[in-house]
Symmetry: C2
Subunit: 472 residues, 2 copies
Amino acid sequence: MHRFLYLTVLSTFCTLGGIGSIAAQEPAPDTAAVAPPAVVQTLADAYRDAADSIITAALADSFAYQRLAELVDTFGPRFSGTRNLEDAIDWILARMKADSLENVRGEEVMVPRWVRGEESAELLVPREMALSFIGLGGSVGTPRRGITAEALVVSSFSDLEAHADQARDRIVVYNAPFTTYGETVRYRWAGASAAAKAGAVASLVRSVTPHSLNTPHTGSMGYEEGVRKIPHGAITVEDALLLQRLQDRGETIIIKLKMGAHYRGDALSRNVVAEIAGREQPEEVVVMGGHIDSWDVGQGAMDDGGGCVAAWEALRLLQKLNLRPRRTIRVVLWTNEENGLRGGQAYQDKYANQLDNHILAIESDEGVFKPQGFGFTGSPEALAILRDIAALLEPIGADSIAEGGGGADIGPIMRKGVPGMGLNVDGTRYFWYHHTGADTIDKLDPHELNLCVAALAVMAYVVADMPERLPR
Amino acid sequence: MHRFLYLTVLSTFCTLGGIGSIAAQEPAPDTAAVAPPAVVQTLADAYRDAADSIITAALADSFAYQRLAELVDTFGPRFSGTRNLEDAIDWILARMKADSLENVRGEEVMVPRWVRGEESAELLVPREMALSFIGLGGSVGTPRRGITAEALVVSSFSDLEAHADQARDRIVVYNAPFTTYGETVRYRWAGASAAAKAGAVASLVRSVTPHSLNTPHTGSMGYEEGVRKIPHGAITVEDALLLQRLQDRGETIIIKLKMGAHYRGDALSRNVVAEIAGREQPEEVVVMGGHIDSWDVGQGAMDDGGGCVAAWEALRLLQKLNLRPRRTIRVVLWTNEENGLRGGQAYQDKYANQLDNHILAIESDEGVFKPQGFGFTGSPEALAILRDIAALLEPIGADSIAEGGGGADIGPIMRKGVPGMGLNVDGTRYFWYHHTGADTIDKLDPHELNLCVAALAVMAYVVADMPERLPR
């Protein structure tokens, strides 16, 4: 069934005064038509007072925004392997302890250390012009003198295939228009190996975005096993369109690419962990968070400083409101989501034998814009329960639970069977700023961030506190 | 009166077949009530067929857009004193001749040659971070080692005054939010001297824009006579807001500014001129155009390649339609609007003794977005006539004639009494791209450009052809 009425048996007390007096009984069997009506409550009924308290507290001030601003202004981008990231983690750990959160700790993770180095792309022919360029994370570099080659502009992988005979010794430029992130990012992720297979010496992608002010977007890329590794970078939408027009006019295009990109040895980083221990089943865990690392441009305010601070603030609010749930709520700020996913993997490794007791994993990594609800990956029974809970978020318009959802950091534990959720938000502007110098705190709104805090706090609290475990 | 019915006496034939058969008489005197009614026509009535032909031709294809794309792609930015600009002018002159326009010529103008040089701004304290920076045209440079100084962030000139005692030896940062261009650009234009008067060693302005993806905007600046010249540049909205937040938190901010900016000797440039000579009063001129120079970033597609090509295309269409008006239509693509206005001044100097016969001057320099009509500076009588003519543009929604308008290049001749008009367009996005690397052809729409061509062609043709001179 799609709409599932979850009848709660609230035989235990709730810690918050406002919901401490809820009477509950077993649901009436179908045959009990003449008996007095049972007191039947949905989860939404049972937790309305608690949820309203959380929402009110979350919207009371701009503390979350100020905290996020201080974090991102003080440390700037938090790229894996950098001092900025580890200093930011130290700062967060100290403040989490000052917030009186429980079991605050950094859990060590070795992360890759990709170094961008000096980089540039220059149009030489038909005229000299600096292209607005950013290398893609994980790319190999060029020789020190750079790579100078004729360009071949293609609009898609199939267009490349159709012109594969012209790709040898060229720099392949993927001028793929933005459709969806999932579709368009394929050129960023897999473009280098596809070009290398056709004999190209380097490849460039049009930045993955629907809106540009000559804005280059970075991001990670991968190489196929057994295919020659060629340098791979991003140019702006504007420059990709220019190269396309030049080619369409029959011009020969020559580009000089220089990339100092290389890997150094892995570096030590940490997943940041803080908890409110469950009062009855502390071994059962609702885990919630975002990723504390970012790309090396902008401030990583949206991706994903905002998700981290929203989860952290959700926990702080519950603690401040004395809402200690039946089960443990664990906030984790995973490291190295952007270019390795080592944090999410390390978490799965570390807690491998406790995943059966991971009730739910929630990630916020789509920006802390106005929340619409959550996406959920799990059983239909769990989905129905979560939809009941989400009704508590109707006052802030965040009551939608879509099928499908999760997050990169919780991907490893979701693949081990943990139900997963992602906070869904108004995504209009996310890819304008994604992985650019424009991912800065001014793009976010204090009230919208508070709404995200409220949505996360209500959802995590109710799932952690409700009498029955969320079914798998 | 506001709405003025202009009674035309069409005693001469029109060159276009469609309007060649209009019967006309002297308007009936007030006392001739018993005489047969005069054939009374508004200008809009008389020129409807011609205007419709022009509009149809203007909207027929994307030739104007393709021409503009080829211009800006081939030559890139066209900054005063550069080879790009002069090569672009040569290209245009050759094509204007191939278009069979008349009296095609370059009129020589000496233009200033400001050279940007290497430039950078770096935050040193409280943390190291490259600021996204662009110097402002006309600024002096820094010493080679740069200027390293503590910053003082102010929100306005009055805020600077209130903190003038803290400005000595500082880099003053104007963090003025965008309201209107006219209001906000004051910090770009006059910020250096105001800061210097308070003892500052350099000054930075927040880029003059309502929308930023960490996008620096350049533009020209000036120094007050007798005030020490200090280097003056622009940072992005994002970075200005960051510096503001750091200051608000009590942080000491230290910035290192390096600018290689300097002037070299004046360079030779040209105003581009092409005409359709008038068939009856060739000495009477409607002048129309934009400026062919641009800033040294982006492509100057919007500012003002689009205005230039729109005026040029308007003339080409009239020529193609065999619409030779009574008076001369002269297209001028002025040079050096951006950082000197020497082209507009040289035009005024050269034609000083012919300005009485300049019937109207029209400029397009607000982008070739969807046109709404024109702004006009001149007599109420002329305004009323132009409103009648503009009714011909109602089919394309460009029939509004607002009071007040003109353009920088036609400013010198307007100050000598020539009535002036500016093409008014949808200005929503103009200042997003203005003076940035994002001023590229992809921001423009072929159909909207065609609408601008149509509006300019209809207005110029009717004013140049109508029996009576536009009154001053």
